[in-house]
């Protein structure tokens, strides 16, 4: 990455005795669509508010475009925010809400009108210019909040779960629009969400957070394919986890002993040595279901507990001896055949499809 637009260095945040953020380090590039992903209460909003200047970090540094931002009030930062609650001014109409920040820029009346007009156009609120804020639907409020921030042409747009109040269809529509808008405007987006699918759809990179820490910072693909730990693996998509002990490591392949689950193999992973207890992680779509057969490497015998037919694919839930959690398998529906409940089957996977997690 060339010179990052945003540099977050060792940022921590305390609220009294409670530590909401622990040593956060992130670099965000120019024009990047960056997401903060994590469960409720993990500190996403707090970090966003620190970027906006509404909260100050307890320790650490924050640079935007090379300038130290600590101590700079929100009104003098090149950031604008779409609030989790939208924060539409109830005493103003749509146009006045969108033009709120422009008033401070000393623009000519004509300039201001053009910019407001363009913003209204961009978020498709045409015809609602004079509508009172309290007569807007949830989706319309969200658009006003977006337009109000975009019209300021910030270097960085901060979005705090802007789509969470919308129904599924409108949300998917808005996701596409957001992504398109971000590409055409070239603005850097920092987007907060607790919806992993949304983060995957939109982001160039995702910082997965938990308990005020960053668990992993990667592209959506890397996050899904190579999760750093169990928590990330299970938050992003679903993951089968098989406990096993490392018995040999040679030629970039680990041999493992799964006890009742039998022998396994997986690509070598950093920091894994002989004798370690680890988790072998396999995504459901990597697991194939076969007729019962001889035991072997990466083969676990199980019984079909549930088979969910979804048309293009079938989701199996298998019970296996030596596992308290069922094995999940997703098979592409290529033959139209389905293993009935109670059938004894064999769950198998390729060595390349497995990952070893130490924590």
């Amino acid at each position: 990455m060339s010179e990052p637009l945003i540099r977050i260095e060792g940022v921590t945040k305390r609220f009294g005795a409670f530590q909401a953020l622990h040593g956060i380090d992130i670099d965000i590039g120019r024009g990047e669509f960056f997401s903060l992903l994590g469960a409720s209460g993990c500190g996403k909003t707090t970090l966003l508010r620190i970027l906006a200047g509404i909260e100050e970090p307890s320790t650490g540094r924050l640079l935007i475009d090379g300038q130290d931002m600590v101590g700079v009030p929100p009104e003098r930062r090149p950031t604008n925010m779409v609030f989790q609650s939208y924060a539409i001014f109830p005493h103003l109409n749509v146009e006045e809400n969108i033009g709120y920040g422009l008033k401070n820029l000393k623009l000519s009346k004509a300039d201001m009108q053009t910019r407001i007009g363009n913003a209204i156009e961009m978020v498709k609120l045409n015809g609602l210019d004079k509508r009172n804020a309290h007569a807007l639907s949830g989706g319309q409020r969200q658009r006003v909040a977006l337009a109000r921030a975009l019209v300021m042409q910030p270097k960085v747009l901060l979005l705090d779960e802007p789509l969470s109040a919308l129904d599924k269809k409108l949300r998917e529509e808005m996701q596409l629009e957001l992504r398109a808008m971000q590409r055409t405007l070239g603005i850097t987006f920092v987007f907060v969400t607790h919806d992993q699918e949304e983060a995957m759809t939109l982001s160039d990179r995702i910082a997965m957070m938990s308990g005020g820490r960053i668990m992993q910072l990667d592209t959506p693909k890397a996050l899904y394919e190579n999760p750093a730990n169990r928590e990330v693996a299970e938050f992003i998509g679903t993951m089968n986890l098989f406990p096993a002990k490392v018995t040999a490591a040679k030629d970039a392949v680990l041999s493992l002993d799964g006890g009742l689950l039998g022998p396994m193999a997986a690509p070598a992973a950093k920091g894994v040595a002989m004798g370690d207890m680890v988790q072998v992680a396999v995504r459901p779509e990597r697991v194939s279901i076969e007729k019962p057969g001889p035991a072997g490497i990466n083969r676990i015998a199980g019984r079909v507990k549930e088979a969910v037919y979804l048309g293009d694919r079938i989701n199996y839930v298998l019970a296996a001896q030596g596992l308290d959690r069922p094995i999940l398998a997703t098979s592409a529906n290529t033959s139209g055949e389905i293993y009935p409940l109670g059938t004894e089957v064999m769950a198998t996977w390729d060595t390349e499809g497995a990952r070893v997690l130490t924590s």
Binding site: A52, G53, I54, P73, P74, E75, T79, N80, M81, F83, Q84, S85, A87, F89, P90, H91, Y100, G101, N104, L105, A133, H134, A135, G138, R148, A149, M152, A165
Partner: protein
């Protein structure tokens, strides 16, 4: 239906007890008799005309209006920053500050009056005047003004002010463009409330006034003269109507404010 009976009787009695004595006032003010006794002897508006002729009474009314106005503006002006700091900032000793602000509510006004008298005469060495009365009234009005404003400021989302800052407004501009307009119903309620509290306050005015009287103090001094009574009743009736209208207005404004905040929200 059966259950409702007891409650209905209770409600009727309640209203009669509370409003009966008050309604006596306008009743006798239209009665054609110098003495406020039954039976009524006829209808007249003469007392109202008399009232206008009583120069001292009108002068004290004017004093009360002036003090009321000064008190309410001052108390509200002090209450606004107080309510903002209590609702918007974290600072040490906040509960203590809040209880101090509310203290005049529970201190008997006679105690307050005597204490103020001592302070003004002994420590400050100031002469008693309408100004000293006004100062005392600000003190008693303040808790009411602060509570009205606090409940109003707590009623709207703080992120509105944060959004204003985020969009480039300084704290001062944010106050002017967001906080004040949204708090306006509370400010108006506070102004009306402060005025009414000062206008009908007796004890402090009685103790702290100099040579000029406020209306309640004047009215009390006139009770010794029976022939002045009807004029007093007439004035009392006028005040009753005016203050009722003010209180209802304050309440309507407050309610309307609450409605526009929650537009059938999620």
């Amino acid at each position: 239906m059966k259950k409702g009976w007891g409650l209905t009787v209770y409600a009727v009695l309640f209203v009669a007890f509370v409003y009966g004595p008050v309604l006596i006032l306008p009743l006798f003010s239209f009665n054609d008799n110098t003495f406020a006794t039954f039976p009524l002897t006829g209808f007249t508006t003469r007392h109202y005309v008399d009232m206008l002729g009583q120069r001292q009474m009108i002068a004290s009314l004017m004093n009360s209006l002036r003090i009321g106005l000064a008190v309410t503006v001052l108390a509200t002006a002090i209450a606004i920053p107080a309510a903002i700091s209590i609702t918007r900032y974290r600072f040490p000793g906040k509960p203590a500050v809040l209880s101090m602000l509310m203290l005049p509510l529970v201190v008997p006004s006679i105690v307050l009056a005597v204490a103020l008298l001592v302070i003004i005469l002994r420590f400050l060495g100031l002469p008693l005047s309408l100004w000293t009365v006004a100062a005392g009234h600000v003190l008693v009005a303040l808790p009411f003004c602060v509570s009205v404003l606090i409940s109003r400021l707590e009623g709207f989302d703080q992120s509105l002010e944060e959004a204003s800052r985020d969009l480039g407004c300084s704290p001062m501009q944010t106050f002017r463009r967001v906080t004040l307009p949204l708090a306006m119903p509370g400010v108006i309620s506070s102004l009306l409330l402060g005025f009414i509290i000062s206008f009908d306050e007796f004890v402090i005015a009685f103790f702290l006034t100099g040579t000029e009287n406020t209306l309640p103090v004047y009215l009390y001094s006139q009770l010794r003269f029976p022939n002045k009574l009807p004029g007093t009743l007439a004035l009392g009736s006028v005040i009753l109507v005016v203050s009722t209208v003010l209180v209802i207005t304050a309440e309507v404004i407050r309610k309307r404010g609450v409605q526009t905040d929650n537009p059938g929200d999620y």
